[in-house]
Assembly symmetry: C2
Homo-oligomer: 482 residues x 2
């Protein structure tokens, strides 16, 4: 028999309907994911937050290796002269880098920037290494932190330092580079759906929004509870822009010197912000089961009664043996009610309650965090049932997020209607677009809304651009974005 | 029937007897572990080198978690005012930090150093977080890179940036902090022996050699082929030095405000240098099996003959299924002889040769990298035999390294004899010591030799300090060091 579990909302979390930004900050602080550091814009990732990142790392690292990539590590500091080599790249990044000017007590001959991304230093090495087409492709990735000096920061979403991975590959042909670019984008989409339970719109960035130095940037875009979009991973086809600027050449099959084709792709701790804003509610975090550091918490009821703790401990070991991440909270300083609130706030997918009467009946009560449904389950074969239930929670969370996104996705006839909808019920606007950068810039200046992507799945919604009246070129997703 | 395999030495590696430093550099370059970057003193860790680090990380991370530690991440940049708070610490580190003075185009109000180690930034956060004894212990670790501006650098051993982990814990009592300090030291020793096959001398640093700001530093010390020691991991009991300087307090059991007791401990990519210099030979790397990215390489012989590649592929899959890291090199551009040399140089523990006649006889030839013994093994139950053999190689390498270290460990009667032996057959000198810092400083100034550690396993070698004639206090290991 399923019942709705009706605990009072956890105090101190501002309801999201009231103030979404404050809700986000409250959730992050109350659940101990991060803290602010003494350096403005730099955050400390606390163990519960870092464990989320470790699970994302593990998923991506496995998929990178399965697709033939190897990890390596390039220096943290990049000479200014290297940063300057690719014109568009330096224009994009120079305004937001941190500069090292002294080593010990001595001024440096040339200043070094703390890497904002590593195309330039990596290309300088590739240029030294590559000699023949036989060595291609280069399929390398690195896990590291990068620094981009930001004026306004928010934990996970925009910080002056963040953790990420950056892949940097070289290929013999343009076709291979394009295939790689799309393959890695698809791994990001797969990770978002299979691990984070977040559905993504997948497509190409407009030229205005692409990476500084890229031929084309591809992106996965998620929609948050508040109707704003979050760019969640990008994959760039860099063509020969950098390989020419850095004079990376190799002897091709026919003996000529060639420039290889180049890609880069990255995903970062920002994904954690997405998880919070897609799944969270007014009680706190709601973590998708495969990402959750604790998947099941066991709360013993009347734990001083004989046999309760022993049975709870046995249940814990059964779940651990089945590969489930479980915590038994048998602390005596807090009541079961306090524990219920605490683990709800922390987003633990399943809470198991087990007391003397349950044990007598050979059952335990299991409360789902995602939909608050509470049901009793037989203790016999408990771990297998929990595995099934965790998968079901994952599937339900993904579908709920998809439904919520679709509900917030709209079409419109006129620019006025667009502005009104974006103001009243913000979300993804699907629209035809003329393809003109000036038109795109006008809309952004006027409304703050940007083209999030030109989706691979195109629909024909009409013949003209509703913003400027010119003939339509392609369909785009637009939104305000983090 | 065992035979000695007698390939000619790989060209281009200088024999270690001729020039050990050049041998080291040659091995590292020829085996593609690292490369020099455009920034002096900063190295690029290439995939084959990074894979070694990943295996070290995996071992340590598992052991840290098994002993209750959690990972987190603290900022890369530390305000100068924080670095200055602990007097001995800033004196130790300020001369070798990189300073960030500009963010984007604007000068910073206070300069920030790139972390050389994170005690100060972490203590500033602990001071904000800790309130009650109930929250103790704090058992946190982070994986990151650190920067220490070095004048003379060598790949892995001393570089201006290196990768490491740093654990930072807080405890209620001095006893708990001491227990933690020694527990983590023992995990380093275990990793060195069980993963790297390197025996360690374990003990305490002299006050002169301890970490800047520590009450006591403990160390594991290895001896290299050339008789120089390598400090391979350190664990510091920081007592209340930092917790007082950073005003970290909590309400104790009896209601008073207390300062917690503090430890930190770290191990770095320098360990890879140790592996090279303990196990390597004039053909190149010799990797201990549990660390090796490739544990078994299969080289097919006469691979165009029918059935050879199919059988080699089946063997590969059998080994993979048994959890062995294996590579089948079926490239046609290189001869088997070239491949033999290549994988010997790269230190792959086992080479499997399989050709038409072997298949007919139901066997494969297996050559061990560590002792050059080549024997034939039945194809039936091959994977299980290889697992046993890999363990045996590990054990033999550890014992060989121990024997080599013991052979290079000497005692002596007089200072003159010490100097002579250290010059002619350098290694560990075991000796009594007066415990006087001035005496220690004199020996270092005179000979370049330092006290590596005061070993836990003390022996009574006499009553007087052979350097100054004063009464002996304790036994120490001395050596020249990297």
């Amino acid at each position: 028999m399923a019942t709705k579990d009706s605990k009072a909302f956890v105090k101190d979390i501002t309801p999201m309907e009231e103030d979404f930004a404050q809700w986000y900050t409250d959730v992050i602080r109350k659940t101990d994911l991060v803290d602010y550091s003494p350096v403005k814009g730099f955050m400390v990732i606390k163990p519960y937050g870092y464990a989320l990142w470790e699970n994302i790392q593990q998923f991506l690292d496995r998929r990178f290796k399965e697709t033939g990539h190897e990890n390596c590590y390039f220096p943290l500091l990049i000479p200014e002269s290297l940063l300057n080599k690719e014109k568009e790249h330096v224009e994009g990044f120079a305004p937001e880098v941190a500069w090292v000017t002294h080593g010990g007590s001595e001024p440096l001959g040339e200043r070094l920037c703390v890497r904002p991304t590593s195309e330039t230093i990596i290309c300088s090495m590739y240029s030294k290494w590559l000699t023949s087409y036989r060595e291609l492709p280069y399929l390398y990735n690195q896990w590291c932190s990068v620094v981009r000096w930001e004026k306004a920061t928010r934990p996970f979403l925009r910080t002056s330092e963040f953790l990420w991975q950056e892949g940097h590959t070289l290929h013999e042909t343009a076709e291979e580079a394009q295939k790689e670019t799309l393959q890695m984008l698809d791994i990001y989409r797969e990770m978002a759906e299979d691990l984070l339970a977040i559905p993504m719109v997948v497509g190409r960035k407009s030229d205005r929004e692409k990476f500084a130095g890229a031929e084309a940037t591809y992106t996965i875009e998620a929609l948050m509870h508040d109707g704003k979009a979050l760019q969640s991973g990008t994959s760039h086809n860099l063509a020969q822009h950098f390989t020419k600027a850095f004079d990376i050449t190799y002897q091709g099959r026919n003996g000529d010197l060639e420039n290889p084709h180049h890609t880069s792709w990255g995903a970062s701790t920002r994904l954690i912000g997405g998880v919070i804003m897609v799944h969270g509610d007014n009680r706190g975090l709601v973590l998708p089961p495969r990402l959750a550091p604790i998947q099941v918490v066991i709360v013993p009821i009347a734990q001083k009664k004989p046999g309760v703790l022993e049975r709870a401990e046995a249940l814990k070991n059964e779940l651990i043996a089945a590969g489930i991440r479980v915590k038994l909270d048998d602390s005596t300083s807090n009541s079961p009610g306090w524990k219920f609130n605490e683990y709800e706030m922390k987003g633990v997918p399943l809470r198991v309650e087990i007391g003397p009467r349950d044990i007598e009946n050979g059952v335990a009560m299991v409360a789902r965090r995602d939909n608050h449904v509470k049901e009793s389950y037989a203790l016999e074969g408990f771990a297998a049932q929990m595995q099934t239930l965790l998968d079901q929670v994952h599937g339900d969370m993904l579908e709920r997020a998809r439904a919520s996104r679709d509900e917030k996705t709209f079409t419109f006839e006129t620019y006025e209607e667009f502005k009104q909808k974006m103001a009243e019920t913000p979300g993804f606007a699907k629209t035809m677009w003329c393809g003109d950068e000036a038109c795109e810039a006008n809309v952004k200046a006027d409304t703050g809304v940007t083209i999030r992507c030109i989706p691979f799945e195109q629909e024909n919604l009409g013949d003209t651009c509703p913003f400027c009246g010119k003939p339509a070129k392609e369909m785009v997703y637009m939104a305000k974005a983090y």
